[in-house]
Amino acid sequence: MKKNNIEGWLFVSPLIIWISLIILAPIYIAFELSLFNVKIIGTSGKFVGIENYIKLFGKSKFVNASLNSLYWIIGNAICQTFFAFTIALTINYKFPGKKIMANWIILSFIIPTVVVVVIWKLMLSSSSGVINSVLIDIGILDEATGFFSSPNKAFISLVLINSWRWSPFLALIILSGLNSINREMYDASKVDGANFVQQFLFITFPNLKSVLFVLGLVGTLLSFNIFDIIWLITKGGPSSATTTLPLLIYETAFTKFRISQAATLSIVTSFLLLLFSIIFIKSMAPKEDD
């Protein structure tokens, strides 16, 4: 047993050291910075204690970005759940071409995010986008609309684009949960006269609980983290409507050069996410069956 302990840690330690060094050292630096008043990188500032933290909560920008992040997470959760379940339940059936589709549905996830941005900038372009001309052709729109021109439209478009990227990946994970469900339960329920809506509600959904728990936790944190899609399409605009916390941190540090403020934001954000994770795990963790 003792030999196992030492050997086990030997196998794990290279990775653990790598990860903790790259996460803990920066967090320490960020915390230190948040207590000072440093503006441009490389300069030193004076010690201000918790002043940065107190100021932060009074800033409308911070409140606005936090709300945007909240809407962003909720919007993405709804869209991605819908898309991912549609894909997973569809691929779970037998049809010609199923294998090819299951393999390639993940295409939107394996290409660089910048390419995702290029695709949707072209398709949603107000002057020559194919979506605009199709919507005009079938009579939904009278004239071309700018999908990123008003705050609401920009926000919704970004949520849909991000969901387009992530849903196929999530669908494959849901599919793995579906594969683990005992087929006999469906056959038995059919004998009892259950239709497929009832099957979904009373067999499929409850059996996916543990997969959905992981997706709920990891998915929320991952969507919170999205930066490049928003930054490259709207830069947080129009009028800060799409500035989520990650964009605010980036802006504060690298376009406004207020390093201490950005560090404070990072620390507060980590704390909020940690709080969310703990609450989520405490309240939603499925009971172990085995």
Binding site: N4, N5, E7, G8, W9, F11, V12, P14, L15, W18, I19, I22, I23, I27, I29, A30, L33, I41, F83, T86, I87, T90, F95, M101, W104, I106, L107, F109, I110, P112, V114, V115, V118, I119, L122, S128, V130, S133, A144, W164, P168, F169, L172, L175, S176, S180, N195, F196, L217, V218, L221, F224, N225, F227, D228, L232, I249, Y250, S266, T269
Partner: protein, 276 residues
């Protein structure tokens, strides 16, 4: 019964159509558009079947831009990140799976939390840390970060693959006098090849698509990666669409090629046990 089957069939066809339209058509669209004349790309009337065919955009990006420099940088960073990630995560996954050491559950949960750890929070402090130790503007800066983002999920997937290898094979080898090293290199790694292949793809993709850190940690033009190079064109006021589209297609090509050969391992790895 027949009625219900019909409803199912209609639902299935509808959702298939929807999936193809939403998730596959955009790829058809940008690939065909990258061969269209500049006038047709920005034309207001849309034609599904292209009217023009030109190679001028590809010509321009291949022979009249920094494409190959960016490609080289992306390849170096992605391959190195992938190899380091695989070595670290095979070792860690084996330790977690086989050697039930004290604290293994804690390590496992910490890895899951790390997987979802928002990178943006680390952006500013990592920038400062790397500036202090003179790592800015180096491949290694990007490799360090990519390994951090790729390994937690890689360990998670690999553990599931190791579980599929029967314990008896390993025990038989020990009885024959094989050392731990021999067992891992001659038995575990060969038997887990599909798993290692799919995890490699995952690590490669993570590094290949990374934009945020690459855009901040690298400022020299000669070290920029493809996503950062492409983003430079996206940000221009007057977008040269043909140029941008051909660049987007070319930047996706390597991951797609990789996926052609080992993609099925990746997908079956994800759907047949990675989450258990």
């Amino acid at each position: 019964m027949i009625k219900e089957n019909n409803i199912k069939l209609i639902f299935l066809s509808l959702s298939l159509l929807l999936i193809i339209l939403i998730f596959f058509f955009p790829f058809f669209w940008i690939i065909t558009s990258s061969f269209k004349s500049p006038e047709e790309i920005i034309a207001t009337s849309t034609t599904i079947i292209p009217r023009s065919f030109t190679l001028e955009h590809y010509n321009k990006i291949l022979f009249n831009s920094d494409f190959f420099i960016y490609l080289k940088n992306s390849l170096i960073v992605s391959f190195s990140s992938m190899i380091i990630s695989i070595i670290l995560s095979v070792s860690a996954a084996y330790g977690l799976h086989k050697l039930k050491f004290y604290g293994n559950k804690f390590v496992e949960y910490s890895l899951l939390v790390t997987y979802a750890f928002p990178g943006v929070i680390l952006l500013v402090p990592i920038y400062l840390l790397f500036a202090k130790v003179n790592l800015l503007n180096s491949y290694f800066a990007l490799i360090i970060v990519n390994v951090l983002f790729a390994t937690p999920f890689a360990v998670w997937m690999l553990k599931a693959f190791f579980k599929l290898i029967p314990d008896e094979i390993e025990e038989a080898a020990y009885i024959d006098g094989a050392s731990r090293y021999i067992v891992i290199s001659k038995i575990i790694v060969p038997l887990a090849t599909p798993g290692i292949a799919s995890v490699s793809i995952f690590c490669f993709i993570i590094s290949w698509t990374e934009y945020l850190f690459a855009s901040i940690l690298i400022s020299g033009d000669d070290l920029k990666t493809l996503p950062v190079g492409l983003a430079g064109i996206v940000g221009q006021y007057q977008i040269d669409w043909g140029f941008l589209l051909s660049g987007a297609v070319l930047a996706s090509l390597p991951v797609i090629l990789l996926f052609v050969f080992i993609g099925k391992y990746f997908v079956s790895g994800l759907t047949e046990g990675a989450v258990k």
